[in-house]
Symmetry: C2
Subunit: 321 residues, 2 copies
């Protein structure tokens, strides 16, 4: 499993994946954010979250996508902030977002009402949240405002695989300046396959032409230059999602061997909300939600984040060598 060198991936990125026009602007934001927090003694985690869109046409009607609501990334962001980290949240447009994710299960118009009642004489025209339906709204709103005030969350959006790859590279380069204070928490569900811009039809593929034969190339393994070249001192976590439990841990180990990063969070599609394994070169730690946790609405991400922050602290304090 020899990996191509970082430099060749750089070339491929430039040639076959269109860079978003605002990448320099985003770079500046990320750089200032990292510098400001590191100067204040705060660690910075870059979280990637959500699935990537892989267009089949350049004027895109059809695309390939990866299953991901963005739930894991959004909830993890909250736990990192609670533990004193500043968070760059690189997420798919309209995937779940920290704090606002609380609104997902409800139809919001069901949870709003006129103060004093509709049409009643006490109706002031004010619209209030029904806290029977959204019991946590006050707590979450307060926390959201604190985080905003503290400037602890920098949201960056991507939509396509190309945008994701270029923005992640930009983030890695900017975060390299804070060395081991930076953590990469790569929870996004990134496509392994794509169609190069040069081979993509411009217009919508016509069904009158018959069945569709798609030939998709392999996406360059960006973890390789990220670890070797772009942010070599950072603490890097990747995620491995499989449906077949029998190959999961072997695949996690192979990824660690190939990319030489610090940990893989391994999980199975059906059980991902209640069970993961954190795999490092020397350890293998199972994290599980038990009945007690479920009753208390504990989320598995709280345990994942806590485990990784402990490891990050050890990593920062290790003798250089």
């Amino acid at each position: 499993m020899a990996e191509p060198r970082g430099s060749s991936i750089d070339g491929k990125l430039a040639e076959e994946f269109a860079a978003p026009s605002h990448v320099d602007e985003v770079k500046e934001k990320m750089s200032a954010f990292a510098r400001r927090h590191a100067d204040a003694g705060r660690r910075v985690v870059l979280i990637t979250s959500g699935g990537t869109k892989v267009p089949l046409e350049s004027r895109t009607v059809r695309f390939l996508d990866n299953f991901s609501s963005g739930r894991r990334g959004a909830s993890s962001a909250e736990y990192f902030i609670d533990s004193g980290y500043a968070v760059i949240f690189l997420h798919r447009h309209r995937s779940l977002y920290p704090y606002t994710r609380m609104f997902l299960p409800v139809n919001l118009l069901e949870a709003l009402q006129f103060r004093g009642g509709e049409g009643a004489s006490g109706n002031t025209g004010e619209v209030v949240v029904n806290q029977q339906l959204l019991p946590n709204v006050g707590k979450v709103l307060k926390r959201y405002n604190e985080v905003k005030e503290g400037g602890l969350l920098l949201p960056i959006e991507f939509n396509t695989l190309s945008e994701y790859l270029h923005l992640l590279k930009a983030a890695a380069q900017e975060l390299s300046s804070i060395g081991s204070l930076a953590m990469f928490y790569l929870a996004a569900a990134v496509s392994d396959f794509y169609i190069p811009a040069s081979e993509m039809p411009e217009h919508k593929i016509q069904s009158s032409n018959g069945p569709l034969q798609l030939s998709m190339k392999m996406v360059p393994k960006i973890l390789s230059p990220l670890v070797k070249d772009w942010a070599p001192k950072a603490f890097v976590i990747s995620f491995k999602l499989e449906t077949d439990a029998s190959i999961l841990l072997d695949k996690a180990r192979r990824a660690l061997d190939a990319y030489r990063h610090q940990a893989v969070v391994a999980n199975i599609l059906d059980s991902r909300r209640g069970h993961v394994v954190v795999v490092t070169p020397d350890t293998q730690t199972e994290l599980t939600l038990n009945e007690e946790d479920a009753k208390n609405e504990v989320e598995i991400e709280e345990k994942i984040v806590s485990n990784l922050i402990f490891a990050h602290t050890k990593f920062i304090n290790q003798p250089i060598g």
Copy 2:
């Protein structure tokens, strides 16, 4: 362009597309809804909305999707209800929804505040909507509650192409009982291609196996049995979205020839929010938003719905022949 007979499509549907387990329950709901409203002299429109998910694996990590926010379907539903129709809203899970679509452009936590101010002595713990940021919330909430009270909107969700096809068939069969009072407004962005369940791998496709060759079959043209067999008296509108303007109207005409339904709403990806052409066997009507409309926040869907309701009235009143 000979179309396969409806009956052969029925067979294909049963064999190659898994029916959702709740289809009978949904059928009953739709049937009761249509009957109740038709008895009250109300017309019923079935709106389909959003894109379809086409799994590449049976334990799905990857899928093909079609670009669609569901905006057109959701806004059209509101205009149909305003014009006295009852609406069955067959939509992709988490695509835009009538009325609640107003929240899309804002981060909701930005639009909420504590009554009396955070931490102030007047803070009652009540959370109110900031109507400077959401000026229409009162009006929309009132309308939402009226529509709910009147039972004018029946939401049905789909996720995959299979669910969409089976639920649309069920809707057509149930709505056939109200004859020409039923309209089908097929605005969903439906995939033309799929992988049959029998040819689908169970587990996540492994990138270590190299580049991906996908061979996708053509989705049966469900409009054919819908018009001929399932709801032969209904007023049926399909949508045609292209990126290449030079083929659009020809494709719309060919669809009318092939399926013998009443109208095609033809539109181009880039201009779809400001311009469409309603094509019928005898007419071709351009609908456009002008500057005045844009200033008044008029939506193109208001014009589309108004045009089609006029045609539906003529269709209902035509001499039977």
